[in-house]
């Protein structure tokens, strides 16, 4: 990798997965991840970009400790407190929006939860049950829950999938604002290159199965500072890698 992380030591997220197999029902094993390694400095936002079905969610589950059946090493930053935003919101349907956040983050103070609700436009929905929310709102609750937990590492699995374009754009801006202001180390899984460009400090381009990091791009002017020319440069660089992979 050509990136020299500014922050060293235990604050970093370091992942080295030698291999991860799934045993098929009919016997035999399929290798999903092979020789994948990536490093993310403290407070940085990393975006994992790869084709659908390449094993991105599997990678996230390994990092989250939900899947321990693999060979390799995962070093989480600081105390390894994880804020996970799953692809489906996975809220407790029998608890209100506010209770969902408080149950997962019992140590969070009310002012912080209030501020998160304001940023994510959830203030009017505190007492609603998840069944009464649209997918976009439910996903916001999941994001609020993960951030209220004050994680050392925030994991987001396709946070914009199946939202309409306008909604996705707004949520992207809100997430950018939140990770910027809170300085939480974040890893976002996405299949959309533009989302990665507008959210990340580092973009990790993944190959198809068995997946590994093909290229790590460094974003010079992340998020609010993003310029047209930098976005164009990243887009061209990524397309070249993806084009080479497709052949």
């Amino acid at each position: 990798m050509n990136d020299a992380s500014p922050a060293g030591g235990p604050a970093r997220l370091e992942i080295a997965i030698d291999d991860k197999c799934f045993r098929a029902v009919g016997g035999g094993a399929q290798t999903v991840i092979a020789g994948l390694s990536l490093t993310l400095g403290a407070g940085e936002v990393g975006a994992i970009v790869g084709p659908s079905g390449c094993g991105k969610t599997t990678l996230l589950r390994i990092i989250a400790g939900l899947d321990r059946d693999f060979r390799g090493r995962v070093a989480l930053p600081a105390h390894g407190k994880l804020g996970m935003v799953f692809q489906e919101p996975r809220l407790l349907p029998w608890r209100s929006v506010e209770d969902n956040v408080r149950i997962a983050a019992p140590d969070a103070d009310s002012a912080d939860i209030g501020a998160l609700f304001v940023t994510l436009g959830l203030s009017a929905h505190r007492t609603h049950f998840p069944g009464e929310l649209s997918l976009g709102l439910a996903r916001r609750v999941a994001i609020a829950r993960a951030l209220a937990f004050e994680p050392d590492l925030l994991l987001l699995d396709e946070p914009f999938v199946s939202l309409d374009a306008t909604l996705a754009l707004r949520l992207r801006e809100e997430i950018a604002e939140l990770v910027e202001s809170r300085g939480v180390t974040t890893l976002i899984v996405t299949h959309d290159l533009d989302e990665a460009i507008y959210l990340a400090d580092r973009i990790f381009l993944l190959a198809a199965r068995p997946t590994h990091v093909v290229e790590a791009l460094h974003v010079e002017t992340p998020r609010t500072k993003m310029t047209e020319s930098e976005a164009a440069r990243l887009r061209t660089a990524a397309r070249k890698v993806q084009g080479a992979l497709a052949q």
Partner: protein, 245 residues
């Protein structure tokens, strides 16, 4: 409202039927109510109702607690399920009478034998229902709780129990009616008090009036528990569900 009308119709039918039959076989409602009042005045009604109710509560609690723990364990652990399932099937198909007679022979005509026999009759039903509930637990929410490092108490209270609540309610409703019917049988066969004992006496004297005078108040008590307690709990645990129809 519909319930009240339905009960009134039942009462009327009873009144008409009693006109055609001799009072020895089917006494009129009024005669039975008078008998209820007389039993209540002597204090016998209340003490017998109380004795039966205590047995119902004890057997019910025992079967629900033990059945829930075993059922959830079987639903979660495949190996335990494979081992214990034949026992459950045997217990499910063992006639209530056999369990009661065996309990009385082995443990004597004691309170413990009576309550234990009733609980054992209800146990397999609770196990089977709660096992289904445990199998239906949402794996996604489980992972969420794991990712957020929720302590066991939090997981139980906020993640697992709300999912088991409908199954628990189902087990409770079917359980309550089953338990009180069997409690009457164990009282009939080997207890010196309770509604079942009084019905036994009434049977020996061919006293249908006394029989009904004990049955009706107890049915009312169980109906009250069902509507006031069980249904209320059910509504409370399912209030988050969007209303259908």
């Amino acid at each position: 409202m519909a319930r009240i009308v339905s009960l009134l119709v039942l009462l009327l039918a009873w009144q008409f039927a009693s006109l055609g039959a001799s009072a020895r076989y089917l006494p009129a409602p009024m005669a039975v109510f008078t008998a209820v009042a007389a039993e209540a005045q002597s204090g016998a009604l209340l003490s017998n109702l109380g004795a039966t109710l205590l047995r119902v509560i004890a057997a019910f609690a025992l079967a629900m607690i033990l059945g829930s723990v075993l059922g959830v364990a079987m639903g979660r652990k495949r190996a335990f399920d494979d081992f214990a399932d034949p026992w459950v099937v045997v217990l499910l198909n063992l006639p209530a009478l056999v369990i009661i007679v065996l309990a009385y022979i082995w443990a004597g005509l004691t309170e413990a034998a009576a309550i234990g026999a009733v609980a054992l009759n209800k146990l397999p039903n609770t196990i089977v229902t709660m096992r289904e509930g445990a199998r239906a637990l949402d794996a996604g929410l489980d992972e969420m709780a794991l990712a957020f490092r929720m302590p066991l108490a939090t997981r139980l209270r906020h993640v697992i129990l709300p999912q088991l609540a409908p199954w628990l309610a189902a087990a409770m409703r079917s359980g309550l009616s089953l338990v009180w019917k069997i409690v009457l049988v164990v009282e009939f066969m080997g207890r010196p008090n309770g509604v079942g004992f009084e019905i036994g006496t009434a049977f020996q004297l061919f006293d249908v009036k006394l029989l009904l005078a004990y049955t009706l108040p107890f049915v009312c008590v169980m109906l009250a528990i069902e509507t006031l307690l069980v249904q209320k709990i059910e509504r409370r645990v399912s209030r988050w569900r969007p209303r259908t129809a």
